[in-house]
Amino acid sequence: MNGEIETAAQTSADPAAKAELDKAFSDLYRTHLRDVYSYSYYRVGNHHDAEDLTEQAFLQAYRHFERARRESDGRPLRPWLIRIAHNLASNHHRDRSRRPQTPLENADPIAARHGTEAVAEGREELRAVIENLGHLPDDRREALIMRFALGMDNREIARALGRTDGATKVLIHRAIKQLQEEMDS
């Protein structure tokens, strides 16, 4: 693992600076572990993969933490963390699509991806909304997860998805409208 660790702390040979950086990172993950885990869970649909994804996201964040802090210019780092988790989840889905699918995964893909049984608790309406959420295009679904599961505002979602605030507002509006139409049909 040592060879892979390329922290910015290594570039500054000051042990006090490194200790301060590690403390700041520790605060960051304590504050945002739940957000990254929730996002990962709604993207991959099971606790095991969500745990792995969350751990990978924070390890990747640690490698670039000093630079991210410098470049964020005091802005919150949550969108940056979610963007890392977002990219890792996309890689995860791409890797899985290359592997042969098991019959179990084919049996109920929505339930497998979003944990419908646990979340909806048998309530038909919630089950329906989760199912329809699975039919949305990826970017719309991800924006809704950020908005409703993590409580992110448009600006945060825009930064996490690498879009403008205006484009994000339109994306969320269309996502809700599409979901509404599917629920009403």
């Binding site: 040979a13 590690d22 993950y29 572990l33 739940r34 885990y37 969350t54 309406e125 919630l126 509404q180």
Partner: protein, 117 residues
């Protein structure tokens, strides 16, 4: 559904936003993830600290060994010699220029006569 029964434009029959808020609740990570992550992070920061220390040690060692290596002495010696030669040449030129000015010799005398004639 008749026109009267239909909801007015802009009014949705299903409150999707409320449903989404209920369905997409934040999920607490299992306790095992907290401890797992604490362990991983401790290992990573320790590894980074070790690498930092090794890197600093390597740098010091390499600097010392390069100072001790006679092959690295050639460049400073050549640079000092070149600087000495250049300085000497400048001194010689300056001396010659001054001696010409103070002592014109036959050429200076001939030039003086030519100007008088």
């Amino acid at each position: 559904m008749s026109a009267d029964e239909r909801p007015p434009k802009g009014v949705m029959t299903t409150d999707v936003e409320r449903l989404l808020s209920d369905a997409l609740r934040p999920i607490d990570p299992p306790q095992s993830l907290w401890s797992r992550f604490e362990e991983t992070f401790a290992a990573v920061t320790q590894a980074a600290a070790d690498e930092l220390s090794d890197w600093a040690d390597e740098l010091t060692d390499s600097e010392l060994s390069s100072l001790r290596d006679p092959r690295n002495w050639v460049r400073p010696v050549v640079a000092a010699a070149a600087g000495g030669v250049a300085t000497g040449a400048l001194v010689v030129l300056e001396v010659r220029r001054r001696s010409k000015r103070s002592n014109g010799g036959l050429k200076g005398l001939a030039g003086d006569l030519r100007s008088r004639i």
